[in-house]
Symmetry: C2
Subunit: 71 residues, 2 copies
Amino acid sequence: MGQHLVGNHIRKLRFNHDEMTQQQLADKAGVTRQTIVALEKGNYSPSLELAFRIARAFGLSLEEVFFYGEE
Amino acid sequence: MGQHLVGNHIRKLRFNHDEMTQQQLADKAGVTRQTIVALEKGNYSPSLELAFRIARAFGLSLEEVFFYGEE
DNA sequence: TTTATATGTAAAGTTAACTTGACATTATGT
DNA sequence: ACATAATGTCAAGTTAACTTTACATATAAA
């Protein structure tokens, strides 16, 4: 796990976008729900490829979903 | 390795930015030169964290360096 | 009360990102 | 001719992202 400098707004965005559930987002992004849970908890940061798919699921750019360093 | 949907402009950007060498970029991004070589060759796509550090090394946003799908 | 949906958590396994180390090639300069 | 810097490539090892499975809790609806 270590300390992660990458954060995200996934949880917040899920509720702003049709109240998307973890499972729905996972399906759209092509990962398991556990992965979404881990990302929301900040356990680790995603691969760049997954980051793109998640941003795409929200119709947003990478940097609207993920940030480096403190918010 | 697999097929990667994520591409980058690293090699091109290196030459546009002070003709930065692979080693210099690696140092700035905090990885080994082998990692830069692999990324330029498209062997794999970086972690999101590394993607941020590389973009930062160029003073660019993530999506100015990396793209999803065909260019 | 029972059923279904959404979320939380945990642990073991797989895979891909990244490291380490080593050597080859090419070009530039002395 | 020799040295040095930049790049290419290969192989084995480590670690973190991601999967799979499983069970627990909470809420709301029938």
